[in-house]
């Protein structure tokens, strides 16, 4: 059959309408839930991205179930949050009632209308946001509204091999970041080669992931407080990259260090400290527990990361609870988030861990949450283990937690993060200079931020 000329436009219009009608999307769904701490709740509460894998989770889950009442059926969809799964379910009008996300994902989700502002939830349920670590709240605050209830907190510590430090006549102060020249000198003193291959890494500056920390220590935030302006090629940021990458270059380059690092038994008894494969590095505080479990006899010195002024500093990251747009039980989701992060819930969870650790004959090394009141209370449960080394790790953890900063939420967090990580990687791989690579990253990041903010403002 041959279509007449008149029929072609009709077919085109029909096809366009058909395609357009298939376009899914909800836009920003409103929040009509009634948040009341005394209200009796019922229904299902499906939680995406959270697993009750240990006593810290199960104890708080019990507390949360008590707060919800027996008529709310909580179902966990375990595993990391799958953004595609979440957005597809929102677009299909069948989202989970609650999600457990990384805090650095909150800005983009909020900008797209994928999650609800929790201002009503916080007011209605009477959640005291003052109890949370400020840096954590800043990370989930977008355009003046809070979009997430912060849960855990992660900070970084200096962890150095005491035996190697002693042998080289060094101390933890030489490798904690307080003196960059000292770090470079210590790395050169600690690094060892065996037949042309690395046998001990001197100092691992943990690039690219800790670039925000090095930049902040040098006096620059990678993004402005309002999340609108990138500062990736600020001279202080460039200087930080040149220093941190230079530490690798002095050991033969990043390629051999990375290859050696990748070959290590990171979570086992043959870890880098136990086998003298590493002089010093910065690492998240949870690794203290790993080391204490798998190699309790390894000699390790701990301190916070230090600025050139000698001040402790940590880059706060972690998780948060958020309620998807279109959540069928936002009231229950809000109360669940409140209960899971309440001071009493954390104390109950910490007590459960203390009992387990005691039964195993191991010290309780504390628990780092995004709830400052809970941290203070849990810290009281930490008793000296009798081993100064591990006690100093706990001290350093809490000191770091008292001195955190974070990157503010923004609508292009994935593009922004990839821009600076790719930039540092190009320098690490020897593909570009620090200045050139960060100039490129600045352009990419600012372009992404401008486009995302323009779209947000338009919507």
């Amino acid at each position: 059959m041959k279509l007449s000329a008149a029929r072609w436009p009709a077919v085109a219009v029909l096809a366009t309408l058909t395609l357009a009608s298939c376009a899914t999307g909800t836009g920003a769904a409103g929040d009509d839930a009634n948040y009341d701490p005394d209200a009796a709740l019922s229904g299902d509460l499906t939680v995406l991205g959270f697993g009750a894998g240990d006593e810290i989770a199960t104890t708080r889950m019990d507390e949360a179930q008590k707060a919800l009442g027996d008529d709310v059926d909580v179902k966990l969809v375990e595993g990391d949050l799958d953004i595609q799964q979440l957005l597809s379910s929102i677009a299909a009008g069948d989202p989970p009632e609650l999600i457990y996300a990384n805090r650095d994902q909150i800005g983009s989700l909020a900008a797209r209308g994928a999650i609800l502002s929790l201002d009503k939830c916080i007011d209605g349920e009477g959640i005291d946001t003052g109890q949370y670590v400020k840096a954590a709240v800043d990370q989930v605050t977008f355009d003046g509204s809070v979009y997430g209830i912060p849960e855990f907190n992660v900070v970084q510590l200096t962890m150095a091999n005491t035996s190697l430090l002693d042998a080289a006549g060094l101390t933890i102060a030489d490798v904690n970041g307080s003196n960059w020249d000292a770090v470079t000198a210590a790395s050169t003193a600690l690094v060892k080669n065996d037949g042309g291959a690395l046998s001990t890494i001197g100092v691992d500056t943990k690039m690219p992931e800790f670039f925000p920390l090095w930049a902040k220590a040098n006096g620059v935030d990678l993004i402005s407080d309002d999340g609108k302006t990138a500062n990736l090629n600020d001279p202080k940021a460039v200087e930080a990259v040149e220093f941190a990458v230079g530490v690798y270059d002095d050991q033969g380059g990043f390629a051999p260090v990375k290859a050696f690092r990748d070959s290590a038994d990171f979570f086992g008894a043959g870890n880098q400290y136990a086998t003298n494969q590493l002089g010093s590095m910065w690492m998240e505080q949870w690794y203290v527990n790993v080391l204490n479990d798998v190699s309790p006899d390894a000699t390790i010195s701990f301190d916070t990361f230090r600025t050139p002024q000698g001040e402790p500093l940590a880059f706060a990251s972690g998780s948060a609870w958020a309620i998807p747009a279109g959540s069928a039980n936002a009231a229950a989701a809000c109360r669940f988030a409140k209960a899971m992060t309440a001071t009493d819930s954390w104390i109950a969870a910490a007590n459960a861990r203390v009992k387990l650790r005691e039964a195993d004959g191991k010290p309780f090394t504390g628990l780092l949450t995004a709830n400052q009141d809970a941290d203070d209370a849990v810290r009281e449960l930490v008793t000296p283990s009798g081993d100064a080394q591990w006690d100093s790790a706990v001290e350093a953890t809490y000191l770091a937690n008292d001195n955190t900063f974070s990157l503010p939420a923004n609508p292009a967090d994935a593009e922004f993060k990839n821009a600076w990580q790719d930039a540092v990687n190009r320098v690490l791989n020897g593909q570009a200079s620090a200045q050139g690579s960060l100039d490129q990253a600045q352009e990419e990041a600012q372009k992404a931020l401008d486009a995302a903010w323009a779209k947000f403002d338009k919507d």
Binding site: L19, A20, P256, A259, N418
Partner: protein, 312 residues
């Protein structure tokens, strides 16, 4: 042929033919419905999405050709396309040469052919994600199996997984892990080459190399061409192994520009940045690039590929 020369079809036969056609359509309808819904429709719909700004959750916003023009200003498009092209150019010939060499060896394995055929095919069953992890393990520059073997011969191996100059060659080599299916296909083709041709050649004094180049390769050229087409398309679509090794959960912060292949960048745009419209436009560009390469390959094949029973 004139219309008058066509023999009239009797109504009974016509009905029978229609019934046959309907039956055939009915039998293939599960596949047909699946194809229409899960393949053809998404292809058409992606064409529409490529003209929109779409983030999955909000309605697509029509932007005309903006996504296509933006690609010209995006340096990562050129970078990822170049990476992909280099990978394809390196991997396709190597894949075919190694597969052919192993198939020729298998042909001489006599009764053990079945065993070795299974052995060579087994790695093909390995999930691609596992191959990506395997790459990091056996190609580790410090402690990997490959460099240990090279060290045995006094060769200091490169940093395959961290040195940008060696990342693509390493990925090309690991792609040989899944060479099993090509070996099986080539083995089947080799068995169809008439033995008389080799007997005649041997009488004429041809050695193994001459027999391979003058008889074997021309006689199985249609199979080699098929593998070249399939592997070229695969090469342009490389994703899982490289993503797992350089962009996945084991390397969330460490990436390497040398491993940024086109589909990985497409994935980043679509599923990390939620620029589904841009990602759709990228997909259509890749389709055009693959189409051009396939057309060129077919054009070359007209002079170089032998099809049994085809008049030349």
């Amino acid at each position: 042929m004139s219309a008058s020369s066509i023999a009239p079809v009797r109504p009974g036969r016509l009905r029978a033919r229609r019934r046959e056609t309907l039956s055939a359509l009915l039998f293939i309808s599960p596949w047909l419905v699946g194809f229409l819904i899960f393949t053809l429709w998404p292809v058409i719909y992606s064409g529409y999405l490529s003209l929109t700004d779409y983030d999955v959750i909000n309605n697509p916003n029509f932007v005309g050709l903006d996504n296509y023009t933006a690609m010209f200003e995006d340096p990562k498009i050129a970078l990822s396309l170049t990476n992909t092209l280099i990978f394809t150019i390196l991997s396709v010939p190597l894949h075919i040469i190694v597969a052919l060499a192993l198939a020729l060896l298998l042909l001489r394995a006599a009764r053990a052919t079945g065993f070795f055929r299974t052995v060579f095919f087994l790695p093909k069953m390995t999930p691609a994600v596992a191959v990506g992890v395997l790459f990091l393990l056996i190609f580790n520059g410090q402690d990997g199996l490959i460099n240990r073997v090279l060290g045995f011969f006094g060769i200091s191996g490169p940093y395959w997984t961290t040195d940008p100059a060696w990342v693509k060659p390493g990925l090309v080599l690991i792609s040989l892990w899944t060479i099993g299916s090509s070996i099986v296909i080539l083995l089947a083709a080799l068995k169809n080459v008439p033995t008389e041709l080799y007997e005649s050649a041997r009488i004429d004094g041809a050695n193994f190399w001459q027999q391979t180049m003058r008889i074997t390769v021309p006689m199985i050229s249609s199979t080699i061409f098929f593998l070249a087409i399939i592997n070229t398309i695969y090469g342009f679509q490389i994703f899982t192994e490289a993503y797992t090794a350089f962009f996945g959960s084991g390397n969330t912060t460490y990436s390497n520009d040398a491993a940024l292949f086109y589909v990985i960048y497409l994935f980043q745009q679509g599923f990390q940045y939620l620029h589904m419209g841009y990602a759709s436009a990228m997909a259509w560009l890749l389709f055009v690039v693959i189409l051009i390469f396939t057309v060129v390959q077919f054009a070359i094949s007209r002079r170089t590929v032998y099809y049994e029973g085809e008049a030349r």
